[in-house]
Symmetry: C2
Subunit: 128 residues, 2 copies
């Protein structure tokens, strides 16, 4: 999306990757909310720290990819690699009202960043 | 989230509701991305048109609820009721690279708004 950029355009040059923690076995709705939290937090971060990357990503149709890894330590390794590559990162910690304990890290958000910078880090991960 | 507001605090006074179109039978990952698109679009809309509601919602922990209704006409009815109540609305239309045709309406976003204003409109819907 948006739809007016759909037909035949080249794939986006910028994206966000949202990594859901698989071992928590969240429902589809709960996982969707965690992904959305991460996307909003990354957007807010970029608006102050990387407005040009944010504008590029929005102009590209705000591409997002939701993936999953089983365990927290794998998410932490992804975060370290992303930070080392200069990519913005954010953790979502759940308030714990429903499916998980308060403070549980549920999702890691990366970007927005150039696809060519993100793919070496997240390209091999399973789609959510 | 965030976690430091978790334990024992009162439920949020403001929220977003993200309505996924059930008949499309999106994968969990695709649905999560549509929900995140809606949340980012609503955040952007609120930052220019309703900064106080946005600030209240963020201060409340940016509560989001993902729900689903089967058909587009039900989503359109929800949108009309929300607009009549003065609640911000946004449609997500998919670019159609993968699971659906380009321009397909996949998700309706509502808010951020007071829980008491949203619940009469969306309170009876099924969680995603």
């Amino acid at each position: 999306m948006p739809s007016d950029r759909a037909a035949g355009r080249p794939r986006a040059a910028h994206k966000m990757v949202l990594v859901v923690r698989g071992e928590l076995r969240l429902t589809a709705g709960k996982a969707a909310v965690q992904v959305a939290h991460a996307a909003v937090l990354l957007t807010q971060k970029a608006s102050s720290r990387a407005p040009r990357e944010l504008a590029d990503w929005l102009a590209d149709g705000q591409m997002k990819v939701a993936v999953t890894v089983p365990h927290l330590d794998e998410m932490e390794a992804l975060e370290r690699r992303a930070r080392a590559a200069g990519i913005a990162t954010v953790w979502v910690e759940d308030a714990g009202f429903t499916e998980v304990a308060p403070g549980t890290r549920t999702c890691l958000g990366l970007g927005p960043a150039r696809v060519g910078d993100l793919d070496p880090i997240t390209g091999g991960l399973d789609l959510l």
